[in-house]
Symmetry: C2
Subunit: 181 residues, 2 copies
DNA sequence: ATCTTACATGTCGAATTTGACATGTCAAGA
DNA sequence: TCTTGACATGTCAAATTCGACATGTAAGAT
């Protein structure tokens, strides 16, 4: 039984705490949004699949026809196995970075403007992350601590990209014709 | 006529220089690999689609049944339009970062070991990038200069992640039980 | 009482992406 | 001459992802 990345993400979330599909969707929109995304239309079928595989189970039926799931022992084992296996998808996918390869097609001033706007967006993201950081409860579950650690990665990433974008903008505007030594 | 991200990437590459599907596949395996990936099985059909849309055209038929394509004026205009439109897919997708959210499921020592191994992988990537940097010709096409700029983003990114991973490993191993105030 | 919003789950078709299968050419070295 | 590896293009089924459509409940405000 092979489990997709989405499956592993759901399994991981449900190992920390039992949740409904709605809660999981919210988790993908909030904390996980910046590393992996999924819509509810993908989440619900995946939950059914995981139940079928015996990796999660429904633990409770709530108010609005809601169903709460938790990872089974087999499910938790699967996550641990995934965590320790060699990273297969170590590839990063980012349309924003892809665009940089083609900025040479714009006039230098436009490209520089684009990069400075990117820097602003990255800084804004840092601000959002920092406000999220202030909302994380003071360590109730180990997952919270790891949430902070992942957040730190996000903050460092955004700051690095913001600095890079400003550097690149200067490089392009100031650079002028290439010094061919 | 809507063009996918892959389509825009192909259009951008073919605006810099006419290439065959094989060349494009190589470009996705090399320079673009770290921001967007595509297999030849996706590239060839997409080329046919772009030809149909009048965004690229075959300019030459080579030795082994090879077909060289170049972007048309409409194709170049499409790339410029894409570059200037508001970033839709500003979401980053990384299975490696996703895993971090679930490292709490491992024993602290194992999680720290995982992070230190990550740091090593990031450093190795920096080394690879730097050796690629030495192979870029000295500015023959503006795209080369942008290649360097994109490379710089990659180098800064990997260095940041390597530093973060080491910091996180220390944080976990040193941190001990949570100070509950 | 009605309205709005958040909660909650699902399906379906289309687009995207992957991996396997399939085929053939050309150049260089053994 | 033969074999290997790089060059070169394609198809197909399956998996993944997305966006739209569809439906219904519970709580709180007006």
């Amino acid at each position: 039984m092979k489990v997709s990345t989405l499956g592993h993400a759901l399994l991981g979330l449900l190992s920390a705490q039992p949740m409904t599909g709605y809660d999981l969707t919210a988790a993908f929109d909030q904390s996980l949004a910046n590393v992996w995304s999924a819509r509810h239309s993908q989440i619900y079928p995946e939950l059914a699949k995981l139940v079928g595989a015996g990796l999660i189970e429904q633990t409770e039926a709530g108010p609005r026809g809601s169903k709460r799931y938790a990872a089974t022992a087999a499910g938790e084992a699967e996550v641990r196995h995934w965590l320790q296996g060699r990273a297969p998808g170590d590839a990063l996918r980012s349309e924003r970075l892809l665009r940089v390869f083609f900025l040479w097609m714009l006039r230098p001033a436009d490209a520089a403007a684009y990069l400075r706007a990117e820097a602003v967006r990255h800084r804004e993201q840092v601000a959002r992350y920092e406000s999220v950081g202030n909302e994380i409860p003071v360590e109730r579950h180990p997952a919270d601590r790891w949430g902070r650690i992942a957040l730190e990665a996000g903050i460092r990433y955004e700051n690095t990209m913001a600095e890079w974008a400003l550097w690149a903008a200067d490089e392009i505007e100031g650079g002028g014709p290439v010094p061919v030594t």
